[in-house]
C-alpha cells in the first residue's frame, strides 16, 4: 500500500507573513530593506520547498475566496519547486469545463504531470450568488459530475461531443501534443450520501474531513460499497490537522494556546505517527496534513512524524 502525504498551504492563514502591505508603517528601528517584490508568493514557494525537502509527496492548496487563487499559486511556484505534486482546489463554478481541462493540460505539460485537481466543497447559495453563481442546490452534484465528464472527455477523445445541463461541447477534444499528458488525479470531498455516491462514480480520491475513527470507518465502508457497485475503485483520503511536539505536555500546551480543533491529532511524534498509521489501517492512503504555522510545522512534521509514519505503514497489511 502506497501512502501519499501532502502538506496543506492555506493561503488565508498567517495573512501578515511576507505581505508587503502588512509591514510596519513609518520609520522602524531596524533598517528595513525589503522591497515590495518580496511578497507572499515567496512564502508560498518556501512552504512548498519545505514540503519537498522533508519528503512530502505534494502540497494541497485549498480554495480561499478572500486570498490568492490556488491555481495561480500552484503555477507560480511549480518551476522552482521540483518533484512534488501540486493539488489546487477550485470551485465548480469558476468557468467552463473545456477551459478548465485546457488549463490543466498546459500545467501538466509544463510541470511534468504534477497537477492534482480538487473540486471545492459546495458553498451555500449566498456565497455562490456573490460569485455570480445561481445553479439550484439540487443540481450542484450534477454540475460537478458534468464538469469532470467533459474535462476528461475532451482530454481523452477527439472528436468529443457532449450536451448536458451545465456544459456542452461539439466536435471538441484535444489534439497532440496536448492530449499526451495524463489527466490530473481528481480529489472530491463531502460526507453526504450524494457526495459519496458522486465520488463512487467520478473521484480518483475522496477526501474525508478529520473525524473519530469509528465515523471514518463507517464512511470508508459506505464509499467502498458504492464504488464497488459502480465497478470502480476510489482511493480514500483525509484532511487531518496535526500538532506534534517532543513531549506530551508541550503538545497539550501548544494545542491549548492555538486552540486547535477537536478532531486534530495532538501528541508526541510517535503518538501522532501511530494515530496516522491507525487511519491508514482503515484503508486511507492519501493524507493531507495541516497545522497552523505552515512553514515551521511542515519542517517539524516532515522531519519527525513522516519518517515514523512511513516506517509504521510499511508494515501495515493492505486493508480490506
Amino acid at each position: 500500500m502506497t501512502i501519499h502525504s501532502y502538506w496543506q498551504i492555506d493561503v488565508a492563514e498567517e495573512p501578515a507573513r511576507s505581505e508587503p502591505s502588512a509591514r510596519p508603517r513609518g520609520p522602524t528601528l531596524f533598517r528595513d530593506v525589503r522591497t515590495p517584490t518580496l511578497n507572499r508568493y515567496d512564502y508560498y514557494a518556501q512552504i512548498a520547498q519545505a514540503a519537498a525537502q522533508t519528503a512530502f509527496d505534494g502540497v494541497f492548496l485549498p480554495h480561499r475566496p478572500q486570498s490568492d487563487d490556488s491555481r495561480i499559486v500552484a503555477a507560480a511556484i511549480a518551476r522552482e519547486v521540483r518533484r512534488i505534486t501540486l493539488i489546487a482546489e477550485f470551485p465548480a463554478w469558476s468557468g467552463s469545463a473545456v477551459y478548465a481541462a485546457k488549463q490543466a493540460v498546459s500545467f501538466q505539460r509544463a510541470a511534468h504531470g504534477r497537477l492534482g485537481w480538487a473540486i471545492a466543497p459546495s458553498a451555500d447559495p449566498a456565497v455562490r450568488a456573490r460569485d455570480g453563481d445561481h445553479v439550484p442546490e439540487d443540481e450542484l452534484v450534477e454540475r460537478i459530475e458534468e464538469l469532470l465528464e467533459v474535462a476528461r472527455g475532451v482530454h481523452g477523445e477527439r472528436p468529443y461531443s457532449f450536451a448536458g445541463r451545465h456544459f456542452e461541447v461539439q466536435d471538441g477534444g484535444f489534439d497532440a501534443p496536448l492530449n499526451r499528458v495524463a489527466f490530473p488525479r481528481v480529489f472530491l470531498q463531502g460526507e453526504s450520501e450524494e457526495a459519496l455516491a458522486l465520488s463512487a462514480r467520478a473521484a480518483d480520491v475522496h477526501l474525508f474531513a478529520a473525524a473519530p475513527l469509528a465515523k471514518l470507518r463507517a464512511l470508508v465502508e459506505t464509499l467502498d460499497t458504492l464504488a464497488l457497485r459502480e465497478g470502480r475503485s476510489v482511493a480514500f483520503g483525509l484532511i487531518q490537522p496535526v500538532l506534534a511536539r517532543e513531549d506530551q505536555d508541550e503538545a497539550r500546551a501548544d494545542a491549548n494556546r492555538i486552540a486547535i480543533g477537536g478532531d486534530a491529532i495532538v501528541g508526541t511524534y510517535d503518538e501522532v505517527a501511530a494515530r496516522l498509521a491507525a487511519l491508514a489501517a482503515l484503508g486511507i492512503t492519501h493524507f493531507v496534513l495541516t497545522a497552523p504555522s505552515s512553514l515551521e510545522e511542515a519542517y517539524r512534521i516532515g522531519q519527525h512524524v513522516l519518517p515514523r509514519f512511513h516506517a509504521l505503514t510499511e508494515r501495515v497489511p493492505a486493508a480490506a
Partner: protein, 385 residues
C-alpha cells in the same frame, strides 16, 4: 511621449527559421535530432525539457531587449496563457504578461480573483487581450454556443462585472448574462491595480464594446490608409461616448541588415511552401470580420513572392510561412523602423511585434530596430540616398 512595445510568446511551438515551415521548437511535430524543448538526448530519449523552458527563454530575451511584455495567444492547440503567465512570473522581472482570453470561458468574479492573484504574483504585470470574435465550429469546440453579437453583449457584461467586483465589496449586478449579489474582491485582492485591457474585433458590435471598456483597441496590420481610417473611427466613436481609446497594431517583421537579405528570407520561405498549403491558407468561411478583411487583401493566385507585395516593404504572405495574419513588414532595420514611425504618425499608440524565430528575433528587433525609432531611421535613410 513613449510607446509600449510588446513582443509575442508563440504558444503553439516555434519555427527555427522563417524559411522553413517545421515547428522544431516545442512538441507540435514529431521529435527529431534538431528539436528543442523538448529535444532528444544522445541516446535518442526525451531530454526532459518542456516547451515552457523555451517560452521562458523568449520572455527573458524580450525583457532584456527592451520590450515591455509579450502577448500570449490562445487557440485550441496552444498552451494556455493563464497557466503560462504564473509559471513564468517569478523568473522574469519587468515583463508584462498579456493574456489573450475569451470572457465566456471563465466566471467573471473568479476571473477577477485570479487576475488579482496574478497581479500579486507579478507586481502588477498582468494585461488582458480580450477576444470575442472567432466563431463557427471553433467556438463550439470550446463549448461556447453563443452567437456572434450575443458574445459581444456577454463580453461587455463580463467586463462590467470584472471591474465592478474589483472596486471592493457590496457589488451587485443584474445583467442578461451575469447576475451578482453583494459580491466583490476581498480588501487584500482589491488593493491591486486593475489590469490594462486590450480589445480586438473589427465588427460594429466589437467597436461598441471596446468603447466602453478597452484601454487599447488592437488591430492586425492592414494597408496603412485603411488602418488609419479604422483608428480614426475607433477614436471618434469612443470620444462620442465620452471615453478615450488608444490604438495598437500587432505586426510581424523580417528585419535584416539590408533589404536584399530580408527579401531573400521571404523568397526562400515562399518557395518552401507547398501548393497545398498555399491553397489552404486562403482560409475558409469565418464569423471573424478581422479575418475576412485579411483574406480579401491577398491576390488569389500568387506564383512568386513579389505578387504579394502590397506596398513598399509590406508583404501579404506571412500566413503562408506561419499561422496568423497575412500582412507584415519586410526590410532593412532602417526601413522597418521608418514603417513603424509611419504607423505612429498615423495614430498607432502601441505595438505587438513578432518575428520568427521568436527568441533570436526578440534580441535583433529590440537591439537593431527599436533604437532607430522617432525619426532617426528616416534621417539615416535620407542620408543614404
Amino acid at each position: 511621449m513613449t510607446i509600449d512595445f510588446y513582443w509575442r510568446l508563440p504558444t503553439h511551438g516555434c519555427h527555427g527559421s522563417i524559411r522553413h515551415g517545421t515547428y522544431d521548437r516545442g512538441d507540435w511535430s514529431p521529435l527529431g535530432p534538431h528539436n528543442i524543448a523538448p529535444g532528444l538526448d544522445r541516446d535518442g530519449e526525451d531530454d526532459g525539457f518542456r516547451y515552457i523552458d523555451h517560452l521562458a527563454e523568449i520572455a527573458k530575451a524580450a525583457e532584456s531587449a527592451g520590450f515591455i511584455g509579450g502577448l500570449i495567444p490562445s487557440f485550441p492547440n496552444t498552451d494556455d496563457p493563464w497557466v503560462i503567465s504564473p509559471l513564468l512570473a517569478r523568473e522574469t522581472r519587468s515583463f508584462r504578461f498579456m493574456i489573450a482570453f475569451q470572457p465566456g470561458f471563465l466566471n467573471p468574479v473568479h476571473a477577477a480573483r485570479m487576475s488579482a492573484s496574478l497581479q500579486r504574483a507579478t507586481g502588477g504585470r498582468t494585461v488582458f487581450n480580450i477576444i470575442t470574435g472567432g466563431g463557427g465550429p471553433a467556438q463550439l469546440w470550446w463549448g461556447d454556443s453563443f452567437s456572434h453579437d450575443d458574445r459581444y453583449g456577454r463580453t461587455t457584461e463580463f467586463l462590467d462585472v470584472f471591474k465592478g467586483v474589483w472596486k471592493g465589496q457590496g457589488f451587485s449586478y443584474q445583467g442578461r448574462f451575469y447576475q451578482v449579489e453583494d459580491g466583490g474582491l476581498s480588501p487584500l485582492l482589491a488593493l491591486e491595480e486593475l489590469p490594462e485591457i486590450w480589445f480586438s474585433g473589427s465588427s460594429d458590435a466589437a467597436l461598441q464594446s471596446a468603447a466602453k471598456h478597452a484601454d487599447y483597441y488592437l488591430s492586425w496590420l492592414e494597408p496603412f490608409d485603411q488602418l488609419a481610417d479604422k483608428f480614426a473611427r475607433v477614436k471618434e466613436r469612443t470620444a462620442a461616448l465620452g471615453g478615450e481609446q488608444k490604438c495598437a497594431v500587432r505586426v510581424d517583421l523580417v528585419a535584416r541588415p539590408t533589404e536584399e537579405e530580408a527579401w531573400r528570407d521571404i523568397r526562400i520561405g515562399f518557395e518552401n511552401v507547398g501548393d497545398e498549403r498555399r491553397r489552404a491558407s486562403r482560409g475558409g468561411p469565418t464569423d471573424s470580420v478581422g479575418a475576412a478583411r485579411q483574406q480579401a487583401l491577398r491576390p488569389s493566385e500568387a506564383q512568386r513572392y513579389e505578387d504579394l507585395i502590397v506596398a513598399p516593404n509590406l508583404w501579404g504572405g506571412f500566413n503562408l510561412l506561419r499561422g496568423g495574419p497575412a500582412l507584415g513588414i519586410v526590410g532593412s532595420y532602417e526601413q522597418c523602423a521608418a514603417k513603424l514611425d509611419e504607423l505612429i504618425a498615423r495614430g498607432t499608440d502601441a505595438f505587438i511585434l513578432a518575428g520568427t524565430p521568436h527568441l533570436e528575433e526578440a534580441y535583433r528587433v529590440g537591439e537593431e530596430v527599436l533604437p532607430l525609432l522617432g525619426g532617426q531611421a528616416e534621417a539615416l535613410l535620407q542620408a543614404a540616398e
